[in-house]
């Protein structure tokens, strides 16, 4: 089979000492980053973008993939030991995992998370290897109109489905598209939004934008709201599981994988929904339902598998179509562009060896993570002792360094600051970051496809609907946009504020906070850490000394 032989070649490349080294660096870095507060895989890859420019693309991507998967592991470690999950997709793991840890079963929780992640990651990557070429075959036959439609769908789906406020999602998207517009128009060569500044003529470098929004914005935001009172980390020995634990874990692993992969592969799927679904399913199917809420191992096994399978799933549209479905994938897409590699269905054809080496390396990375994390899990907890001033100062330091090294221009640093401030503002006012980044990255490409489509139809807008796929997609698109309106029509006694009937994109204007909260854990893109108020200790003690005096009269 052709896939198998390509995969074997991929392994041959990925197993060279050099690439193996990068894989190791990637997974260690990823795990560390997943554990540390304030950092995430997306930010780390963004920070590394300028540095990796000199590397072989294959090696760089192997490292990035390692960071991605590693971040998931690190995130589960903190969610179990610390009760404040690092990645929003680890929220569900924290529910049972932390309870298990408190009951002295941290080792088992970590073990089931690690092994489950390995199982799910391996199966997920295998599915990736099988499905991606199929999707590519299908996609290559698509013309510009359909491709345009798919991209618009991806963009809108992410904006409209994730996040608690569609309106803000679209606002964020608008800003992202505007940023993407800056620079020279590719067809007519005219300058757009450059305001006469020659330095802007080449557009805003995606690296600078990514670093600014992910790293600087996040660092500033966390600095403004640093948690004042320290948390407890539950000490743990080496992870291991007893026979009973194995018996109870293996089916949740498989079920979790089944949930995770499809959702990861869909635009706007994300990893939160499948982890939640997995949890609910495991609870329902469990022979020990009363344990849920007190530390049921199934509640860790399933969601963690779902998490990792979703990560593998995310790689599918990224590699096959050039469509990122979460923040980390978006940054990796930016990396492709930076290396001059054109993402899209032709990626497999043009850069076959690179892609297959990457996929092979995902298998290897998974394995390495299991190998490294089982014995080292107790050590990761020690990393949490790192003083935060150094951590956040370090982020700003490397962000500056990275952004500067792109063009050796101080102007880029000004951009970094301005966009960083934007990132801060967005986090303050609940504008999701993912649509912005997607807008910046996909905007120019969408424009390109639009122009090509209409060029083919010689200006006739009907050309956009020229292909049946395109029509089908627009129907889905319309459904997604109309969804809240239809929803309101069906439930007439819902106390919905009378929304502006015109725009289907209006936010569900819920004064008491978004109604989406009531049902599910906050659906947010993974660059956003979900508000873990439900699980973490709210900071009770203000930052100066006084715990309110509690005097007792004898």
């Amino acid at each position: 089979m052709d896939v198998l032989s390509s995969l074997m070649d991929g392994f041959a490349t990925a197993l060279t000492p050099m690439n193996l080294l990068y894989a190791v660096i990637g997974v260690i870095l990823g795990s560390a980053v997943g554990v540390l507060p304030g950092l995430g895989p997306a930010m780390t890859i963004a920070l590394l973008l300028p540095v990796t420019y000199v590397l072989e693309p294959t090696s760089a991507f192997i490292m990035f993939a390692g960071i991605y998967y590693g971040g998931m592991y690190g995130g589960s470690t903190t969610s179990i030991l610390l009760n404040t999950p690092g990645e929003s997709s680890s929220v569900v793991t924290a529910i049972e995992g932390n309870k298990m840890a408190k009951a002295g079963r941290a080792a088992q929780a970590l073990a089931t998370a690690a092994i489950g992640s390995f199982v799910a990651g391996t199966i997920g990557t295998a599915l990736l290897a099988v499905f991606a070429p199929i999707v590519v075959e299908f996609a290559v036959s698509l013309g510009s109109p359909s491709y345009f439609a798919i991209m618009v769908l991806a963009l809108v789906a992410v904006t409209a489905v994730l996040g608690s406020s569609r309106l803000r999602g679209f606002a964020s998207l608008g800003l992202g598209l505007a940023i993407g517009l800056v620079g020279m128009d590719s067809v007519t060569g005219q300058r757009r939004l450059t305001f006469g500044q020659p330095l802007l003529a080449d557009g805003l470098d995606i690296v600078v934008v990514a670093v600014a929004i992910f790293a600087v914005g996040e660092a500033l935001w966390v600095a403004a709201h640093m948690r004042r009172t320290p948390l407890h980390v539950i000490p743990v020995g080496r992870p291991w599981m007893g026979k009973q634990d194995w018996k109870r874990s293996w089916k949740p692993w498989l079920r979790g994988t089944a949930f995770g992969f499809p959702f990861g592969a869909l635009p706007a799927g994300g990893a939160e929904i499948p982890t939640f679904l997995s949890y609910v399913t495991e609870k329902r199917l469990s022979k020990h339902p009363e344990e849920f809420g007190k530390g049921a191992i199934e509640g860790v096994a399933g969601p963690e598998a779902a998490n990792n399978a979703a990560a593998a799933g995310t790689m599918t549209p990224l590699l096959a179509l050039g469509l990122p479905t979460n923040a980390t994938a978006a940054v990796m897409l930016a990396a492709f562009v930076q290396f001059g590699i054109q993402p899209g269905p032709l990626l497999f054809a043009n850069e076959g060896p690179l892609v297959w080496a990457l996929i092979a390396s995902l298998f290897i990375g998974n394995f390495l993570l299991l190998l490294i994390n089982l014995p080292l899990a107790p050590m990761w907890a020690k990393i949490l002792q790192l003083p935060r001033p150094y951590l956040y100062a370090g982020i700003l330091f490397f962000a500056t360094l990275g952004a500067y090294s792109v063009n050796l221009q101080a102007f880029d640093l000004v951009l970094l600051l301005v966009l960083g401030a934007l990132g801060f503002m967005m986090r303050r006012f609940g504008l999701p970051v993912l649509p912005l980044i997607l807008g910046v990255i996909l905007g120019p490409r969408i424009e390109g496809q639009l122009r090509k489509s209409l060029q083919l139809s010689a200006g006739d807008p009907a050309g956009l609907l020229g292909e049946p796929i395109a029509i089908g997609i627009y129907v889905i698109l319309a459904l997604i946009l109309m969804w809240p309106l239809l929803f309101k029509l069906f439930r007439r006694n819902r106390p919905a504020a009378a929304g502006p009937s015109s725009a289907a994109a209006a936010a569900p204007a819920a004064p008491s906070g978004s109604s989406a909260h009531a049902d599910l854990p906050v659906l947010s893109d993974d660059s956003v850490r979900s508000d873990s108020a439900a699980h973490s200790r709210s900071s009770v003690k203000p930052d100066s000394s006084a715990h309110p005096d509690k005097k007792e009269t004898p």
Binding site: R228, H232, P389, S545, K551, E552, P554
Partner: protein, 130 residues
């Protein structure tokens, strides 16, 4: 009259607290419980979390001890916080917990206890666990 006790959620800290309660009852003093953290890192296992504080509260309340519990997070080390508190409140006694250490451990010893012992203006009562 105030007695300051440096508390950490460890056996030594518990021993210190128990002794401090005893002392406070003897001299009818107010007990000032200090549990501080530098606040540098995200985690600090020596910083008591809410449930622990609550149980200390309850314990002191049921024993009828007048008390104040403070958890300063100001970037100062534990010794400084205890000494500061003692000075501010004119404490008559400081109670701290000590760990049994090996000879080598004593060399690299917890400077917290040492500093308090050496720099306090008032008597210091060092208690061991168990």
């Amino acid at each position: 009259m105030t007695i300051v006790v440096g508390y950490v959620p460890t056996p030594e800290g518990e021993a210190a607290l128990t002794q401090a309660i005893h002392e406070a009852r003897k001299s009818n003093a107010t007990l000032l419980v200090i549990n501080s953290s530098k606040g540098d890192a995200l985690v600090d296992n020596r910083y008591a979390q809410e449930p622990e504080i609550q149980s200390i509260e309850d314990r002191l309340a049921t024993q009828g001890i007048e008390h104040v519990i403070k958890q300063p997070v100001r970037g100062h080390d534990a010794a400084a916080e205890v000494l500061d508190a003692a000075e501010e409140n004119n404490a008559e006694l400081i109670v701290i917990g000590l760990r049994r250490r090996t000879p080598v451990g004593k060399l690299i010893m917890g400077s917290v206890s040492q500093r308090i012992l050496l720099e306090a203006d008032c008597p210091v009562l060092a208690v061991k666990a168990g």
